[in-house]
Symmetry: C2
Subunit: 481 residues, 2 copies
């Protein structure tokens, strides 16, 4: 990453921006240098880059024209949605020859069809706006993440976003029925089918899901809907250990079947962190237990989830697997339970720059991995605080490390670097993933690259050359070819 | 397709078979010409081809060695699982230069891990054997198809098989966690991870799912498991129309939520056809209704599916949406209801060669499509009988056409050709799919080819050249490049 100054220093980029304005129209290409910068800063504010230009098309045809114009000028393209990604996938790393192509203006919901259990929407539509419009028609789009008020559906698909409902509904990939993609040669791959089943050979759309814009620009998607789950039962439970939380998950998976929609684990520190961010947040359970689970069962129609939650908890409390628990008696109480989960993230941010991870291991090894990794961190970095939480059912843990209070910025950067090395060393022994749901982007490229087997690298390279022979799509993201 | 005689006529192939036996071992390469033929005949017995040789490796390394040997000899490879496919994807079409590579001997279940909700299995394992082994450990692998006693899991993945449980659990693609693939250059792409979530960039395994062996040979897979559904409620319902069956599906999807595991529709003729195949099969419902639905709700643990089915049917019968119905009171009764569904297929086969389709349209258009297509068939082909049945929730209909009794083989072939043209003409107006779940293979290649947009063809061609530059993997399947 270079500093933002680059934009003004370079003469070439300014001329190229002018050329783009002439080719695509002044309305489409941002002019002011200051305006450009907000498209070049990442979600956490850790990195600010620069860019030749920011292009903001209003239609698929304008995206195609922009791709052709960039090719002509020898510029490469960094597609950007809501810019809420956590791995620098949508921020240029070569400001003098990369443009940002923002999908924000392509935000139309083209169709919601409850009778067909499907919707068709342009990439720039903000996730929560899509979810709300769908909910108004009695239907449900299950993708749910902290950033849903800002992230865009195209970015969600491009990064194959995860979130809290994956254990029931799968990653974004499993919610996609079709894609419209502008390819690196400027042609349009049309495929906004709403067919539930279509087995006509190799499924090309799969290539672009999770590719983070390295193979093309997703301009619209068709997605699966389910009936809106009117009935939701939410509980916060105290347990003796993460190991017990995993036992409880297995039990819940069987007892509550496919009606369980979330199963998040948190350490007791979650309450402190949440209240540091939201001092008035009620914590309706004692903070004395070593592990907590936030569990949700949901359903529609004739399914009685309250009764199911009640009977489930009676059984597991009687057996001593759950030590204490509270069931939300209202939507407000349920919302407050989820605010603990969200507030703990804000609380970590308030404690300053820290190490964030997004790890997955096989479910059966989750507890021993967390124990071993936290031990390794505390031995290597005295005074640092590990915060492990995440999605039990997916084997997905965010093991974060907070530097000791009062650490200088330089000390923090050093500590983060060392913590990452320590945690990855344990992770590699578990053959886990360094990115369970956040993607690779530019931030994780070195770690991805270092672990990439030769056969896989060769195939990825062949693929990239086949689809994007001029290497203009999001270079520097995921892999350097 | 050429006739079987080709094998004996050609001198080259016999020498090449000998060379393969020397290179790979006599144990691995079948010698007798007669033995070869059973690998060259399709499931329906409609087509018999020939082959240079049949290679039957026992390990991934032997598959890799076989691929290298074939490349050296200038032979191409047709991978074959249980050979139960319906579109000639696993049968050579150039017997003088293609070998069949059968995965049947690679049938080991490497691991079933209930604590991890996963299993790892070699491609040649027969689906029902895998399901049984998993069930013994209290777990469930949801893929369910008529051919499950013969088809192999590698073939299921390679063709992205569908079946009767797709509406709840998705196509095979959604059940796969990882793949081991031998690539066209003989290298091994290792990826038998059991991670539930792994978002490290482009997901290479997706390329091979549904590719029908055109990009590589799947040698082993890791799959997702769920708890075994101990409680199953099965009902056979009589309705006024297919339109009402779709209304009922929408209602059931909301009322029974994610607990519905099957929702199949059948015409009244299903009973006649089933009894033609199984004369003793009890039919526990009057055959007087225009449409029937076979519906299944299933669950494990604390979920009471019997009560749910009861309450659901009470509601919809009171409203008049369901006119008559019977709930299976035992596993045997449930099994007998499913035998109607399976028997109607056998019954069609007994009436001789007929046209089979595997169509999908958007759910909201299913009833009007079937009405229009059946009308077109009866107008164009007087005396022919349309039989439409399938998976309502997936918008997937098998609209088959039976020639009039007493038709000669030649008349049947002509009628099938004309029926296909008539049905596809209607389908194209609905922008549906000519292959909802069966794949393309060689049988549907011309129809696929004729409907393939230029952008999609260009991308598929680039992909094929990138992964299989020497074009040795299953040439003639899906597309000619």
């Amino acid at each position: 990453m270079t500093s933002a100054g680059t934009i003004e220093d370079a003469k070439g980029p300014a001329e190229q921006r002018l050329a783009l304005r002439q080719m695509l129209g002044e309305d489409i290409v941002l002019s002011e240098t200051e305006e450009l910068l907000r498209f070049c800063r990442d979600w956490h504010g850790d990195v600010t880059s620069g860019t030749v230009a920011v292009i903001r098309p209003r239609s698929t045809q304008q995206v195609a024209a922009a791709v052709k114009a960039c090719r002509e000028l020898g510029l490469s393209i960094v597609p950007q949605g809501g810019n809420t990604g956590l791995v620098l996938g949508a921020i240029p790393d070569a400001p003098e020859r990369q443009v940002v192509l923002s999908l924000s203006r392509m935000n139309r919901i083209r169709k919601i069809d409850p009778a067909d259990f499907s919707a068709v929407v342009e990439s720039g539509c903000i996730l929560s706006e899509l979810k709300d419009a769908i909910a108004k028609m009695g239907m449900f789009f299950p993708l749910a993440l902290g950033a849903q008020g800002s992230c865009q559906i195209g970015g969600n698909v491009s990064t194959n976003a995860g979130g809290v409902n994956v254990l029931r509904y799968g990653m974004t990939r499993e919610l996609v029925l079709g894609l419209e993609v502008v390819l690196p040669d400027g042609s349009i791959l049309e495929g906004l089918s709403t067919l539930r089943k279509d087995n006509r050979g190799i499924d090309l759309k799969q290539l672009f899901i999770g590719a983070e814009g390295t193979l093309g620009i997703i301009t619209a998607v068709s997605v699966k809907l389910t009936p809106y789950p009117d009935h939701v039962a939410t509980a916060l439970l105290g347990l003796a250990s993460l190991e017990d939380a995993i036992k409880l998950y297995r039990r819940a998976r069987r007892d509550c079947c496919d009606l369980m929609s979330a199963f998040e684990f948190m350490p007791p520190l979650a309450f402190t962190l949440a209240q540091e961010a939201m001092p008035d947040l009620p914590i309706p359970i004692s903070a004395e237990y070593p592990a907590y689970v936030l569990m949700e069962i949901s359903g529609s129609g004739l399914v009685d989830v309250d009764d199911l939650m009640q009977r489930f908890l009676e059984g597991v409390m009687e057996e001593g697997l759950v030590l204490d628990g509270t069931i939300a008696a209202s939507q407000t109480q349920a919302r407050n339970l989820w605010l603990i989960r969200e507030g703990m993230n804000e609380g970590q941010a308030k404690r300053g720059t820290h190490m964030r991870t997004d790890i997955s291991v096989p479910l059966s090894q989750l507890a021993s991995f967390v124990e071993e990794a936290e031990k390794a961190v505390s031995e290597a970095l005295p005074g640092a605080v590990s915060v492990s939480y995440g999605h039990v059912g997916d084997g997905n843990v965010h093991l974060n490390v907070l530097p000791p209070a009062g650490s200088t910025p330089e000390e923090r950067i050093q500590l983060i670097y060392r913590a990452k090395t320590v945690v990855n060393e344990v992770l590699d022994r578990y053959t886990g993933s360094i990115s369970a749901e956040h993607g690779i982007g530019r931030l994780k490229r070195p770690d991805f690259d270092a672990r990439l087997p030769a056969t896989r690298r060769k195939l990825l390279t062949a693929l990239k050359h086949a689809v994007d022979p001029e290497m203009i799509m999001n270079p520097g993201c995921q892999l350097r070819f």
